[in-house]
Symmetry: C2
Subunit: 159 residues, 2 copies
């Protein structure tokens, strides 16, 4: 493995680890726990399940990995805060979560180390030229941190 | 910048971004908010401030960057759960947080990209040979995720 491949592998491992912990947590929560705010007045785990799925789904076009599976989630889980919209059934949301994350992981493996260091698609060529750290790898780390952030909150739903 | 340097730079940027967000959050919390559980029965932000400082301080020896600044924090913030020990004053804890993170960032800059991909010091040569992804970079990403996880919780202390 070249050094560059090794860096990318470490970053994908880190994503996978957080994703597996988050999946395990979601699977282990009862419907009651999923529907109870993580702290008074804050988001419910079921909302965070949809929110994380929507943000991960949006990684396909940002990373140049094709079309989204569930763009319809954005209106409910990104543009709207929790407790303002009717949510899809939890069983549907869990299926979307699995489908999006499983497809993402298999797509990650198709990118070469060089491609991970190229600009992401929410970035113009011009801006990338000014700051080459605004690449796909940066998106992966940013979304891993985002998932960790909400994982810390969802954990609070466990008694 | 070589590709390998670029990967490391992206990882350090990601650490710095989360660290700055966390620092800003701690600075903005009142003493009341720092002493109030983030959710009923859960940790207080003041405990998480000491906990994160202790875990970051432990990165010096793990990354081979020298001695710890505050090993005494472990007994209170790692081995003991919140609300079982008398904590240092918050002003002291904030000083430790700043000192540890500021020294870490300056030390990160002293490591070459190759050194980031070498084994970390909580790892034997033998185990590293089996799995070269268990390197310093993996420690950095893991601690960035850990900080993000608790950042998500501390945010709940804001009204």
């Amino acid at each position: 493995m070249t050094s560059q491949n090794l860096s990318v592998q470490v970053a994908i491992n880190s994503w996978r680890l957080v994703m597996e912990r988050t999946s395990k947590l979601f699977s282990g929560l009862t419907d009651d726990q999923l529907s109870k705010e993580v702290a008074p007045g804050k988001n419910r785990p079921i909302y965070l399940l949809g929110h994380l799925t929507a943000i991960h789904d949006a990684m396909f076009p940002i990373l140049g990995l094709g079309d989204r599976l569930h763009p319809e989630l954005d209106a409910i889980f990104v543009s709207s805060p929790d407790k303002t919209r009717t949510l899809p059934p939890v069983e549907e949301l869990k299926k979307y979560w699995d489908a999006v994350n499983s497809k993402l992981l298999s797509q990650f493996a198709t990118l070469s180390a060089d491609e991970w260091l190229q600009r992401h698609y929410a970035m113009s060529e011009e801006d990338y030229a000014k700051d080459p750290t605004r690449n796909r790898l940066a998106v992966l780390l940013s979304r891993t941190n985002h998932m960790s952030y909400h994982l810390g909150q969802i954990t609070l739903a466990i008694k």
